[in-house]
Amino acid sequence: MTKSFRSGSETVTAVTGVDLAIAEGEFFSLLGPSGCGKTTTMRMIAGFEEPTGGVVRLDGRDVTGVPAHHRDVNMVFQSYALFPHMSVADNVAFGLRRRGVDKAQIRSRVAEMLDLVELGHRGKHRPSQLSGGQQQRVALARALVNQPGALLLDEPLGALDLKLRQSMQVELKRIQREVGITFVYVTHDQGEALTMSDRIAVMNRGGVEQLGTPAEIYEHPATRFVADFIGTSNLLTGTVGGRTDAGTWRVEVGDGATALAAELPDGAEAGAEVHLTVRPEKVRISVDEPEGAVSRLPGTVTETVYLGSATHYQVDIGSDQRITVYQQNTSGSGLVAERGERVWLSWTPDHSYALTD
């Protein structure tokens, strides 16, 4: 799908070459920073925007050009967009009424849905009388009651405070399992996406950077953008050297230090410049030089942050490169090294990925 907007004489392309197949019953997230095109993509699925190129298929049927009110998808808006002049029950019943479902059935389905979101006793209230979290659940019920082919959620937890957001994440996942409807979830919060999703499409500048399960995306970021956007990642720039006896590649990362990579990206060979990623929690920090077939880098501690259960270290490894290390405080002996001390950093080759882009 492609979507361009015209603003005056300029044409702005919001989404380009996005090609996604979302499976039935899946919890699918579109994750990316603001302006990456995730909301536009969702609005094209909903029918609020028409793609300038490509097609939208729902359940195999081409719905491109079909207006929103004829599409079998429902949306949960970021601002909830509840009808302020109607009671909670009337809000939930709105879609069923428009479809001409008979009254007795509307009543029972609305009651059932309000029970599912634990608002059974609130049916007669106005949306303005409810808290943010409750309004959020009304918005969810109002969309789900129609048993759509897919439910679209546009940053639905964005307006809630942290505690509520965390409990709603669990709640959403529970509801999704119970109703078995496909959820398409738009968020810029990587924690949210990792917690709830079956699969994630990481988007950037109108395109999809990587598509995969939360574990794949976290453990094997395909691009520097993904490595950087999902969690914290160390990115080292280096030159590919030779191969070791064990079949891993040596990557020279300045000042003669060598890191190991299990594989090289497609097209890269000895002599190429690559970026190595390694998660801070995968790096070990020690005073003595470690043994074995591991990446081994000497450095100087520049910063320590004690967090109780863990300590974060910043280590300068020379040639303007820094590595962040998260070390669990298991021994109770406090810091491994103080600021300014020389240390060794090490990690196994399968924990770092070489990327060209």
């Binding site: 009110h69 967009a81 029950a89 879609g95 109002r142």
Partner: protein, 284 residues
């Protein structure tokens, strides 16, 4: 009490003094005047003459009914013309919204009386509007609009239209565009979305607009005296004549209170009718 507790009362004091001096005192004076007998030369004596009210209603009931009727017609006309205007500016006005609003307010820069008199030229028997239509035979040559009820109602609707457009515009402009999208998302077409969501949510604006047009139009006297001729006088004309021409203050005051009473009763029943829980949706 500390200073802090006095502050709100001190701040509200000028408003209270203003209201007392220029509203409560004159109203009291007029109420007392409406119950007196006598004339300008011999003076008015307080005699608690309730008969003034009986006289006022029995003599001028025709003008009272006509005023309320004209006011209602003009108000309905304002809703019918003003709602689409407000809707268009709010949703389709784009970057030129304030220009359109200025255009609506532009006539206000010209005197109210002058604007009304200009309608005499527009509606004259062979004027810019009727003349050409008559010359091509579209309407009968002896048709006259001036000095008739439609002329007065048109004038009223024209003069008070902005009072209807602005409050409706204010509500539509503030409306969350997402709730309209939500309605479409929940299978409502354009008409259903308008009837079930946009219209009910904008009713407070219509309510305010109706008050702001119905009250001044039904008590107006300029339009009927400029455009209505002698047979379409409104209650405002009667009050004006009784006060300024006949100097019959007691009757003039009594009519004023009758008009005020009727408007208040009307407003309260209207507010109650619209204020009830649900206008468009039936509860499950």
């Amino acid at each position: 009490m500390s200073n802090r507790e006095y502050t709100p009362y001190v701040l509200v004091l000028p408003a209270w003094v203003w209201l007392a001096l220029f509203f409560v005192v004159p109203i009291g004076g007029m109420l007392s005047l409406s119950l007196t007998t006598g004339d300008v030369i011999t003076g008015f004596q307080q005699s608690f003459e309730v008969g003034n009210y009986v006289d006022a209603v029995s003599t001028y009931w025709e003008q009272i009914v006509r005023s309320l009727f004209y006011g209602a017609c003009a108000t309905v006309l304002c809703v019918v013309i003003g709602y689409p205007m407000a809707y268009w500016i709010a949703f389709r006005g784009g970057t030129h919204k304030s220009t359109y609003l200025l255009l609506i307010l532009l006539p206000f820069f010209v005197s109210f009386v002058l604007r009304t008199i200009s309608w005499r030229f527009l509606l004259a028997d062979n004027g810019v509007l009727l003349g050409p239509l008559k010359s091509i035979g579209l309407i009968p040559a002896d048709l006259a609009v001036l000095n008739s009820s439609p002329a007065v109602i048109l004038g009223l609707a024209y003069n008070f239209l902005p009072f209807m457009v602005l409050p409706i515009y204010a509500v539509l402009e503030r409306m969350d565009a997402r709730i309209v999208e939500a309605a479409h998302d929940l299978y409502a077409g354009r008409i259903q979305a308008f009837l079930r969501v946009i219209l009910p949510v904008s009713l407070p604006g219509v309510f305010a607009g109706v008050l702001m047009t119905f009250i001044p139009t039904s008590s107006d006297y300029i339009n009927s005296s400029v455009l209505g001729g002698t047979h379409n006088t409104m209650i405002g004309n009667v009050i004006q004549t009784q006060y300024l021409v006949n100097n019959n203050y007691p009757i003039a005051s009594a009519i004023t209170f009758v008009l005020m009473g009727l408007l208040l009763v009307g407003i309260f029943s209207y507010a109650r009718a619209l204020g009830t829980e649900r206008v468009m949706e039936v509860h499950t």
